[in-house]
């Protein structure tokens, strides 16, 4: 069992979620509530990482953010940040490929909030922030929770983008998915088995928790 790889994967998934969640809620809410020209284009752009092969996405990230690119060399020279083959680069890539997983369920959840409830909040004297906190958030949380779980689990298991952008540096970019691949290449099926099973159980329990929580909130107590 490659504990270091597991720790790195959990750190990557946790940080991705921490940064992406507030951002995803904001974008999902904005897309659900507003109508503007170019909205469909933005929605299509958000879905793109979902349909693009991970290696293609990883490749483009590498060439656009790597040291040889304009942006990559600027980041390195001015801020001293190197994105290719580093944990930071992995984090950026991970955030980009998880955008649809966080934004889409969140947008759908906000879409389902009855407009009349928002109006009732405004008429009751609630500020926009109070309306969000006391009306919207309690109603959208099953959607937000499933978005968070999807993002976390997806990051934990992502392989193609991670390999392209981060390579295979132990402690820096070698995640558990890459470690499994590594072990299989070395015919160490026992380790690969254990790590795969752990990943399977982690993913399964995360999905189960999100479904259970959503079902619980949707279930109405009998009169």
């Amino acid at each position: 069992m490659d504990w270091q790889a597991l720790g790195l994967s959990l750190k990557l998934a946790g940080l991705t979620l921490l940064i992406l969640l507030p951002l995803g809620i904001w974008v999902g809410r904005m897309l659900a509530y507003s109508n503007f020209s170019g909205k469909s284009f933005i929605e299509a752009l958000i879905v793109l990482p979902l349909v693009l092969p991970p290696t293609v996405l990883g490749y483009y990230l590498l060439v656009s953010l790597g040291g040889a690119s304009g942006l990559g060399s600027w980041l390195k020279e001015v801020l001293g940040i190197q994105l290719s083959f580093s944990f930071m680069g992995l984090l950026v890539a991970s955030m980009i490929f998880n955008i649809p997983f966080i934004v889409q369920p969140t947008q759908r959840a906000f879409d389902n909030v009855p407009k009349q409830l928002i109006d009732a909040g405004a008429v009751s004297g609630l500020s926009a922030w109070q309306t969000f906190l006391y009306i919207e958030l309690p109603l959208v949380w099953p959607g937000v929770l499933s978005a968070a779980v999807l993002t976390f689990v997806h990051t934990l298991g992502e392989f193609g983008v991670v390999l392209m952008m981060g390579g295979n540096i132990p402690g820096e970019t070698k995640t558990i998915a890459i470690s499994i691949y590594d072990r299989v290449q070395a015919f160490d099926f026992e380790s690969a088995d254990r790590m795969s099973l752990l990943l399977l159980l982690l993913s399964l329990s995360a999905v189960a928790v999100s479904f259970f929580a959503a079902a619980k909130i949707m279930r109405k107590p009998k009169r």
């Binding site: 109006d119 009732a120 909040g121 405004a122 008429v123 004297g125 109070q130 309690p138 107590p221």
Partner: protein, 374 residues
């Protein structure tokens, strides 16, 4: 007008036409009536501050909430409006007390809950019901929570959007009583939107009849019922007895004119239809085609002591018993198209039988003549 009255005029052409102006005194109830899509809910949303019209002015007491010329627009949250939404708009994740407490966010939490409880007691919701979520309450109970939430805001204007449409008849009677009791004690203008004219007439001091985003007629329920401005208003009010006629000009009695009653369709037209002597307001030219209406109060069967009533012999062609009322159709003078609808209550209705021939009396003083539109 008192110093807490509502005075408004709103104008809008897009996305839908909206033209409405009215006043409502404190303690009075103004009912906006119309079919769905008439623009009545939009007027309510504009008054609440949930929608901004192109131009106009809204003033409650000394406060101006909207003035397009002065570029004033007070948002909904600052207007102190109590609004009861159609289907109530209660928060499904909050119990009744916390729903009401939403209107009291300016108070400390403890005080908020006590006050919310007081408002729920006021609308007669038991303490057991107060801790239930909306889906655990009946339609009538949800309605009471919505009213309590609206009142807890200590509103300067109360808006009711089809508030009784989703409750059964029995609950509705209780809620009417609740509203009637609260009306005067609140001492604020109340605007009610409804498609149910009976409901509007029961509670309102003033009616505004809307169609296609514009006001067709405004006034007291009695005046609008007695003298609808045109055939469309008569239809919207559900006036059963609307007929066509020809205005023959002034009669020999001063202040009265002669009206020839014509059957509803051209095949029924009788060139020598009966002539009625009705009030003449001097607005219609002789020879003009007209619509005319007579309210239920102006129709009597069997006998009448009214000297102004026109008498016809009629045959009962249909009598339908609907619980406490009987609705009957009578064909006058045995002429096709001269059908009068009568709604009867009380013991007398038992006497009416299909096929029976009886005298019918139309009070000519209550006949209202309108220009022919369609």
């Amino acid at each position: 007008m008192s110093n807490a009255s509502l005075i408004f005029n709103i104008h809008q052409s897009l996305p839908m036409k909206l033209e409405c102006a009215a006043n409502c005194d404190a303690g009075d109830l103004l009912a906006i009536v119309g079919t769905s899509g008439a623009g009545k809910t939009s007027v309510l949303r504009v008054l609440a501050g949930l929608m901004k019209p192109e131009s106009g002015r809204i003033q409650v007491g000394n406060e101006v909430w909207f003035d397009s010329q002065e570029h004033i627009f007070v948002p909904a949250r600052d207007r102190h409006v109590g609004m009861v939404f159609q289907n109530y708009a209660l928060m499904p994740h909050l119990d009744a007390i916390h729903n009401v407490a939403l209107s009291l966010m300016h108070l400390p939490k403890h005080e908020r809950l006590i006050k919310a409880q007081q408002w729920l007691n006021h609308v007669q919701l038991s303490s057991d019901q107060q801790v239930r979520h909306p889906h655990q309450l009946s339609g009538g109970q949800q309605q009471r929570v919505a009213i309590a939430r609206a009142l807890a805001r200590e509103p300067k204007l109360l808006l009711l959007d089809e508030p009784f449409s989703a409750v059964d008849q029995m609950t509705r009677q209780d809620l009417y009583q609740l509203m009637i009791d609260m009306r005067k004690s609140l001492g604020i203008p109340i605007v009610l939107v409804t498609h149910d004219l009976r409901e509007a007439s029961l509670m309102a001091d003033q009616l505004v009849v809307m169609d296609d985003g514009v006001v067709l007629q405004a006034g007291s329920p009695g005046i609008i019922h007695g003298s609808p401005r045109n055939a469309r208003v008569a239809d919207l009010l559900g006036i059963q007895n609307r007929f066509q006629g020809e205005w023959l000009g002034p009669s020999s009695t001063p202040g009265y004119g002669s009206l020839r009653w014509i059957g509803m369709s051209s095949t029924d037209a009788q060139p020598d239809g009966p002539i009625l002597t009705v009030r003449d307001k001097g607005k219609i030219k002789a020879g003009q085609q007209v619509n005319w209406v007579i309210p239920g109060d102006g129709i009597e069967l069997w006998h009448s002591e009214n000297l102004n009533a026109a008498q016809f012999q009629a045959t009962v062609i249909q009598a339908q018993d609907l619980g406490e009322i009987t609705m009957a159709k009578l064909s006058c003078s045995d002429l096709p198209g001269y059908i009068v609808n009568v709604t009867m209550t009380g013991k007398k209705r038992g006497r009416i039988k299909e096929g029976e021939s009886l005298p019918i009396f139309l009070d000519q003083n209550l006949i209202h003549v309108m220009p022919f539109k369609y």
